[in-house]
């Protein structure tokens, strides 16, 4: 079934926040932000800007009627800076003008006098200074200290993992509309309407019920609008509060890129110990997360790193340490994978390095240590329905790893300039918010007297196909045609206290809530039908294809007749369903529990060709076996797999965030930040779904799909690195992502480049030349 919104998208009819009809007196806002990464505000001079034509007002922290605080977990983030600024792009003042263009112009006339303070951009430096957010945490299993002694081989290393810009194509935006009695409606491009409601109420000093947040759809989110859509919504609410007019704010792309946080960069140290046969006995890792200037969701992101630091492997002795390090960069935030991918990158690096030391294929170590049924993870949860080996075996059967390895070895023997590399990337990703209380959702379902159905949930449609899934779930549960079902906008007056659409769990949570609401209405309808038709067993009544059946036989009643009769008999045709994921818990004092409803498994094999004289590379193929349980909608899910993979591949290769030492963001446009384009995608992409097995936690047996496929992308780093090793086996290449073509070249030819830049005659090229001749001879 196709995406429910797609028809409107393709006609250009879908409305995003700034496409909605504009009230005649709509005002426009622009954000003045900090020009330095750390400093004391001495004076904010808005006089000249305020005197410009068309400028209505300029607001700063002192104009906030309520509390100037928007921190979602830890209360350390102001909406508008007060006495200090902590990163370049931190909002300081809000200009409100008759047009967006005038508002932008006025920004240039605002003067900010600042006394600069020292800037820290490196997480290890911040950690050494004691600049950490919340508490550092450690997950432990077994006896790590005792285990090192029984290992045949122990290797250590360091990883530096870069962040990633979300590049939702619709930048951050919001419009606030004043309603009667000092109430406000906010149209926001947010993944978390309740976060917007809570924060804007706090900013304005109002109760939550005075703020209505409505979200039709997002032009992409990827985590970037989970928490960081909130400030822009609060700012327009503030302006609407003062001006009593509707106010809209759309961040231009470069401002969006400068002012918002990204995926967290990590710097990590690992130590891994194995037997000579490749069995991993011990693994220790220290993660230094670059959190940026405020907490945002960093502590939660770090928690997911802790949970995913051993990826798909069972390791009996483990110690995982992580700390959120406060730096003078924009507050880093949620991004598809939410800290999991960084943890997984480090264990894969450790395995790669161990394989080199043991002279063994990394595939052998990976396979030997894959999770099996009932294995315990470092956080105490035992894996149920473990499909790590199943997906690996299935992938091996379908794609024949040994044959690929052989072909690549042969290619590399016979080619000098180009080398091929291969990597296998297994994934195991836990599904549920790791803060157990967030795993709740509501749905409101109405059936109208013509038999049409309205479904509201707390979930956000951001392109991932949630609404398509919900429509299918509701229609299937009622036994009616899907055309009868409409999925409404997400609105805080219909669904209260919703969790963000995040953690891959949106369809699981909201789909299950919808099933509960539908179930309540169905139960009433069946009771009525049993009574009216004189049938004794209402449980034998089902609705199929809009017909009411009893014991599998037609009763003569249709859906239309059933609804009409229910209405005339004063049976309620509305219900609110509430779902809370059962059986999950986590004890943060002991760092043990059962935080995930289930895990998603999969295995991908990736092949690349690297031009070792130029550093450029092609991704030849990505082939995977992925576990979707019993998918609700395969077309939508495959779209998630392909899109998630593209983001993972981009994160590992092209997408490079550049900051200078003063904390200035240098890659602040799509001209300087390289995004995957159509040429970037693998030449061959094969996605096989594991046999369809019902997942008891998912609606109709489905498994979550949003985040896991991104992590297959990690494999491309190791595939490229393996190709580089085929060219220069003597070099220990860094675990430094993204592995851009520039970095490939610099690492392959560091000796040459060093000679060249120092004006020396190139001598170390001789070895390469000799090798080339040898190849030509053969």
């Amino acid at each position: 079934m196709k995406h429910i919104d797609a028809a409107a998208h393709t006609r250009g009819e879908s409305q995003y926040v700034d496409d909605m009809p504009q009230p005649a007196d709509l005002l426009f806002a622009a954000v003045f932000s900090a020009p330095v990464a750390h400093g004391k505000i001495l004076q904010l001079d808005i006089k000249e800007a305020l005197s410009m034509d068309g400028i209505i007002a300029i607001y700063s922290a002192k104009d906030i009627p309520g509390e100037n605080q928007i921190g979602p977990i830890i209360q350390d983030e102001t909406l508008l800076a007060e006495d200090k600024v902590h990163f370049i792009g931190e909002p300081v003042a809000l200009v409100v003008a008759k047009t967006g263009e005038l508002a932008q112009k006025a920004l240039k006339k605002i003067k900010l006098e600042i006394e600069e303070l020292p800037v820290v951009t490196d997480p290890r430096e911040a950690f050494a200074n004691g600049q950490i957010i919340g508490n550092s945490r450690t997950f432990a299993l077994g006896d790590i200290e005792g285990a090192w002694n029984i290992c045949d081989v122990v290797v250590e290393g360091r990883c530096d993992i870069a962040g990633q810009e979300h590049v939702y194509l619709e930048t951050q935006r919001a419009r606030a509309v004043p309603l009667e009695d000092r109430c406000f409606r906010i149209h926001s491009s947010t993944q978390s309407p309740y976060a917007v409601q809570k924060s804007s109420a706090k900013i304005l000093g109002l109760s939550h019920h005075k703020i209505e947040v409505d979200v039709q759809r997002l032009g992409g989110g990827f985590g970037g609008k989970e928490d960081q859509a909130t400030p822009w919504a609060c700012l327009v609410a503030l302006a609407a509060w003062h001006t009593k007019k509707s106010v809209e704010l759309v961040l231009p792309r470069h401002q969006d890129m400068e002012m918002t946080g990204k995926r967290h960069p990590y710097s990590s140290d690992f130590k891994i110990g194995l037997t000579k046969n490749g069995k991993i006995l011990a693994y220790e890792v220290k993660h230094y997360q670059n959190s940026g200037a405020t907490a945002d969701l960093s502590t939660a992101v770090m928690e997911r790193t802790l949970f995913h630091s051993t990826n798909s492997y069972f390791i009996p002795n483990v110690k995982i340490f992580a700390a959120c390090c406060r730096t003078n960069l924009p507050p880093n935030t949620a991004f598809r994978g939410f800290g999991g991918p960084q943890g997984m990158f480090v264990i894969e690096s450790a395995i790669a390095k161990a394989a080199e030391k043991l002279g063994m294929s990394p595939l052998e170590i990976q396979y030997k240590n894959l999770l099996q049924e009932n294995d315990v993870l470092p956080y105490g949860q035992h894996v149920h329905d473990a499909r790590s080996r199943k997906t690996w075996d299935e992938a091996n059967k379908s794609y024949k790893f040994p044959a690929i390895q052989k072909r690549i070895a042969k290619y590399n023997e016979t080619h000098f300039e180009t080398k091929k590399g291969l990597a296998v990337m297994p994934i195991c990703f836990g599904i549920s918010f790791t803060s157990t209380f967030l795993n709740q959702a509501g749905a409101l379902v109405h059936v109208y007297t013509d038999g049409s159905v309205s479904v509201s949930t707390g979930g956000i449609e951001m392109g991932q196909g949630l609404n398509t899934n919900l429509a299918k779930i509701a229609a299937k549960a009622f036994g009616i045609n899907q055309e009868r079902v409409k999925i409404e906008s997400t609105n805080t007056t219909r669904i209260a206290n919703m969790s963000a659409s995040a953690a891959s769990a949106t369809t699981d949570l909201n789909g299950n809530a919808t099933l509960i609401a539908v179930g309540q209405i169905l139960d009433r309808l069946k009771s009525l039908a049993a009574k009216e038709l004189g049938l004794s067993h209402k449980e034998k009544i089902v609705i199929e294809n809009e017909n009411v059946l009893f014991d599998g036989k037609a009763t003569g009643w249709t859906w239309g007749k059933l609804i009409q009769t229910a209405y005339l008999n004063r049976v309620s045709l509305s219900a609110h369903g509430f779902y809370a994921t059962p059986g999950i818990w986590f004890d943060r004092d002991k760092e043990k529990g059962h935080p995930f409803a289930y895990h998603v498994f999969g295995t991908a094999i990736l092949e690349v060709t690297v031009d070792c004289l130029r550093g450029i590379y092609d991704i030849n193929s990505v082939k995977m076996v992925h576990d979707l349980g019993r998918p609700i909608n395969e077309l939508v899910d495959r779209g998630q797999i392909e899109g998630g993979l593209a983001q993972g591949l981009g994160w590992m290769t092209l997408e490079e965030l550049k900051f200078d030492e003063k904390g200035k963001y240098l890659s602040n446009s799509l001209a300087t930040y390289k995004l995957p384009d159509v040429y970037f995608m693998p030449d061959v992409l094969e996605v096989k779904l594991l046999e369809r097995i019902d997942n008891p936690s998912g609606p109709y047996g489905a498994k979550a799909v949003g985040e896991p496929p991104l992590m297959y992308g990690i494999g491309v780093f190791f595939a490229i690195r393996n190709a580089m090793r085929a060219f220069r086996p003597e070099i220990e290449f860094l675990f430094d992502s993204p592995l851009t073509p520039e970095k490939v070249l610099m690492q392959l030819h560091a000796d040459w480049l060093d000679d060249l830049t120092n004006g020396r005659t190139v001598t170390s090229g001789k070895a390469v030349k000799a090798k080339k001749e040898k190849v030509e001879e053969s």
Partner: protein
């Protein structure tokens, strides 16, 4: 700066609108004419979300001066649907080539220009045509599939404008 009143031929009808000499077409179609199907993704010609057809060729409306469009035929996504849904629109919806939808119209306008000029493009030619359009959701494969499907349909005489 003073405004000028100009006439623009958009989607087959003439629109009279007041512009400033430095206004770009994107602002004029969105703000003056309320044709909001054309999206603003970057304002600097790097994403392709604002593509429209100008005299049949795909152009970035964020980098096109409105003044330059006088006397030219402009088609936006809103002009594609009448009288019936264009095969590209159907194909993008059916193939999964549209997720969040923000880039979709830009791809469709680019693809329309390609197919009008080259009704039977190779896959590589499709890739070349859309290489300036960014999509963050789909990974492009289903987009290329959609365009290829339309080309095939048109070749077999089943598509129509």
């Amino acid at each position: 700066m003073l405004c000028k009143i100009i006439k623009l031929n958009i989607n087959g009808s003439t629109h009279e609108t007041a512009i400033r000499e430095y206004d770009v077409l994107l602002d004029v179609v969105r703000e003056n004419l309320n044709l909001t199907g054309t999206k603003r993704g970057c304002d600097m010609g790097t994403c392709g979300c604002c593509n429209v057809l100008i005299d049949g060729r795909a152009r970035l409306s964020c980098l096109t001066m409105a003044m330059e469009c006088i006397g030219k035929k402009i088609v936006t996504i809103e002009g594609l649907k009448s009288p019936i849904v264009h095969p590209l629109q159907r194909a993008f919806a059916e193939s999964g080539g549209s997720q969040c939808g923000f880039c979709t119209q830009g791809f469709i306008m680019t693809a329309k220009a390609l197919l009008d000029e080259n009704p039977d493009p190779k896959r590589e030619e499709i890739e070349e045509a859309i290489s300036g359009n960014m999509c963050r959701c789909t990974g492009y494969i289903k987009i290329v599939d959609a365009i290829e499907n339309v080309a095939k349909l048109q070749k077999n005489g089943k598509g129509s404008n």
